[in-house]
């Protein structure tokens, strides 16, 4: 009888422990870690790379040219380039080129991780007339990247005409 009472007591104790303690275990396994709260580099969902600038009238036509975000020849770096070409702008027109390397964050934002600029660049590209943005990877998590290139014609009004690459996922994260 005494043994049966002890067994019953043990069963009740186990039940109480399971009921009371398990939730605390469950809570402990899913802590609100900083990475779950703070925006962090992530893979972009569909539509996150939609163009923000719409075409508008310009005084002359020009073309924003760019490549995709890619592994640099410097090991562990990713880079992207921007240049421009002339449509019907006056011959000899020069431009200031800005190319940004953007990394996607889990809060839906794109954060610029490096900006390359080239002042007084002639049309047509080439090594002397392109902007180069490059960043060193800090982690190997696969996240989304894009390049954005803005051409600012010198002495000629133009629109905020951004050339934007497609989104590519690379095992390179920068916090």
């Amino acid at each position: 009888m005494k043994a049966r009472f002890i067994l019953l007591l043990a069963a009740v104790a186990t039940l109480v422990a399971t009921t009371l303690i398990s939730p605390s275990f469950a809570t402990a396994q899913t802590p609100a870690s900083p990475s779950a709260v703070e925006p962090h580099p992530a893979i972009a969902p569909p539509g996150a790379n939609a163009p923000s600038a719409t075409p508008a009238d310009t005084y002359c036509v020009f073309y924003t040219r760019f490549d995709d975000v890619h592994w640099s020849s410097t090991a562990g770096d990713v880079s992207g380039h921007g240049w421009w070409d002339n449509g019907d702008c006056p011959a000899g027109t020069k431009a200031n080129i800005t190319t940004r390397l953007d990394e996607y964050y889990s809060d839906g934002s794109w954060k610029t991780k490096n900006t390359g600029t080239k002042k007084n660049a002639y049309a047509g590209g080439g090594s002397a007339n392109r902007a180069n943005a490059r960043v060193t990877c800090q982690g190997s998590n696969t996240v989304s990247w894009r390049t954005e290139t803005d051409i600012d014609l010198i002495g000629i009004s133009d629109t905020n005409n951004i050339g934007r690459s497609a989104t590519y996922n690379l095992p390179c994260s920068v916090n």
Partner: protein
């Protein structure tokens, strides 16, 4: 000259809207989202570029990752861009894309050291100096060449693809 390697070349092809759509679908995007994304970038034209080394005997060897070129017109007109392109101007664009990152400092038009290492990993021993002396040609896929010489309109390709994509999405 270099023995086994006789030439280098880059192949350029356009990326059609349907290729971009199918790429997104393979990555798991729902049809409606993939369509939306492709339509949002429809004013930008894209091409792929892949470089190869030609062997004296045997298949060409890929030299580098596939690169991508893009162009956006201040007029917002994709077809206007194609009309102004030619095989010569597109060749210049390809040569811009394949420039090494440090081209301005090194003065090199191609990343010879990277090519040497890539070929070495394939069991082919060649020096950067050897490679510098080889012809480097830019080739176009037939459908891109037709657009560049004005035999077909880039917009026709895009419009056909977009109609096809929208049909798939329904």
């Amino acid at each position: 000259l270099t023995g086994e390697i006789t030439a280098l070349f880059a192949v350029c092809d356009l990326i059609t809207p349907i290729q971009r759509y199918e790429h997104l679908r393979r990555e798991g995007w729902p049809p409606s989202d993939a369509t939306s994304d492709v339509l949002q970038l429809d004013r930008t034209i894209y091409c792929t570029i892949q470089e190869f080394a030609v062997r004296r005997v045997g298949a060409a060897i890929p030299l580098r990752r596939r690169a991508e070129w893009g162009s956006h017109s201040s007029s917002g007109d994709a077809e206007d861009q194609w009309r102004r392109m030619s095989p010569e101007s597109m060749t210049r664009e390809v040569l811009n894309v394949v420039l090494p990152d440090d081209a301005e400092e090194s003065g090199d038009d191609h990343p010879w050291g990277e090519f040497v290492e890539g070929l070495k990993s394939q069991g082919i021993s060649v020096s950067a100096e050897d490679l510098r002396q080889l012809p480097y040609n830019v080739l176009f896929a037939p459908r891109l060449y037709d657009i560049l010489i004005g035999a077909s309109a880039g917009a026709d390709v895009a419009l056909h693809d977009l109609a096809d994509i929208q049909q798939r999405t329904l």
